[in-house]
């Protein structure tokens, strides 16, 4: 079941006009999701703060390249994703060879709230999230944190829609299996 969030009234037009209060409102809206995403990708507090700051600065400089104001969130996450990717390539912790490139499944559960986690499972959840390959973790985090649609995740990560579906499906299935094992 695909859940489409109601469009927010973000002051993107005012930000285009250079109003600092509009930028402040936009940054306040996205600073925490961006930080959480960056931290869970690079696992370094200072690097995550740097990524958020660099993302904000890049957004102020390149807002003219945003065509659709309604896609400001995914556009901003796209910048942050590229910054994370640059850091990750420098660190070279994992290998893209771990990526699971199976065929995309037919059905999806795209509501982030459908995966409820008990209190005693939180640590296991975070451990598993960190064990996931980088691309799957990226897709899953964007799905959980920002509630992006599959199209938006594809835009953020600059990957084909089928690949996003595949990554999200297998990441969720892996999470669910782990949680079942822990319950049993």
């Amino acid at each position: 079941m695909l859940v489409v969030a109601a469009p927010e009234q973000l002051p993107v037009a005012q930000a285009r006009a250079g109003k600092p209060e509009a930028w402040d409102a936009l940054f306040r809206r996205y600073q925490k999701p961006l930080y959480v995403y960056a931290y869970e990708m690079v696992h370094d507090e200072q690097a995550s703060l740097d990524i958020v700051q660099e993302t904000f600065i890049a957004a102020t400089r390149h807002l003219g390249s945003l065509r659709d104001d309604a896609r400001f969130g995914s556009w901003l996450f796209g910048i942050a994703h590229q910054k994370c990717l640059q850091r990750w390539r420098k660190q070279d912790r994992e290998s893209l060879a771990l990526e699971e490139l199976a065929a995309a499944p037919e059905e999806f559960e795209t509501d982030p709230a459908d995966l409820l986690i008990r209190r005693e499972q939180e640590v296991e959840f975070m451990n598993l999230l960190n064990q996931l390959p980088w691309p799957q973790r990226s897709v899953l985090l964007l799905h959980f944190i920002a509630d992006f649609s599959l199209d938006e995740i594809a835009m953020v990560t600059a990957t084909p829609l089928g690949t996003v579906k595949s990554r999200l499906h297998y990441a969720r299935r892996a999470l669910r299996e782990l949680l079942k094992e822990k319950v049993q």
Binding site: A17, Y35, L49, F56, I57, P112, R119, F144, I145
Partner: protein, 140 residues
């Protein structure tokens, strides 16, 4: 029971103060862009001139203004009445022409030049056929 989003956000709640400071820093670096309407520009220029040019030396400008007012008052008191206000003067073009002719004759008498004649009025040009024009032989 929590959603993954709740868990993730709760895990990083300590970073909010740093993020707020970071946000303020970035926003402070943004230079406010002038988005005022074009018709507000003259007022802005006038205000800038007033603030930058007049206000820093307002006593000097006030003294200069007083001096100019004083000069205007003195000038208006000492100046002769304008010619246009002389009673009985006819400023029509015919009266001006007659007056000019009289003054010219007067100066001619004073200078002793008797040959000055009144300029005959210009004859209106009437074109004639070429056969009635006087014959002029061209030099060879």
């Amino acid at each position: 029971m929590k959603t993954p989003r709740d868990i993730l956000f709760h895990r990083h709640r300590a970073a909010e103060s740093k993020l707020n400071a970071l946000r303020h820093e970035v926003v402070a670096q943004l230079a406010p862009v002038a988005t005022e309407r074009p018709d507000a520009l003259p007022w802005r220029v006038a205000f800038t001139l007033w603030r930058e040019l007049i206000l820093p030396a307002h006593r000097i400008w006030a003294g200069l203004a007083c001096a100019w007012v004083l000069l205007l008052l003195v000038n208006s008191q000492l100046a002769p009445p304008p010619r246009a206000t002389v009673a009985g003067q006819d400023d029509s073009s015919m009266a001006f022409w007659q007056r000019y002719q009289e003054e010219r004759r007067f100066f001619a008498e004073l200078s002793g030049v008797a040959g000055i004649k009144a300029v005959p009025p210009a004859q209106p040009f009437t074109p004639r056929p070429r056969s009635e024009r006087p014959f002029q032989r061209r030099p060879a």
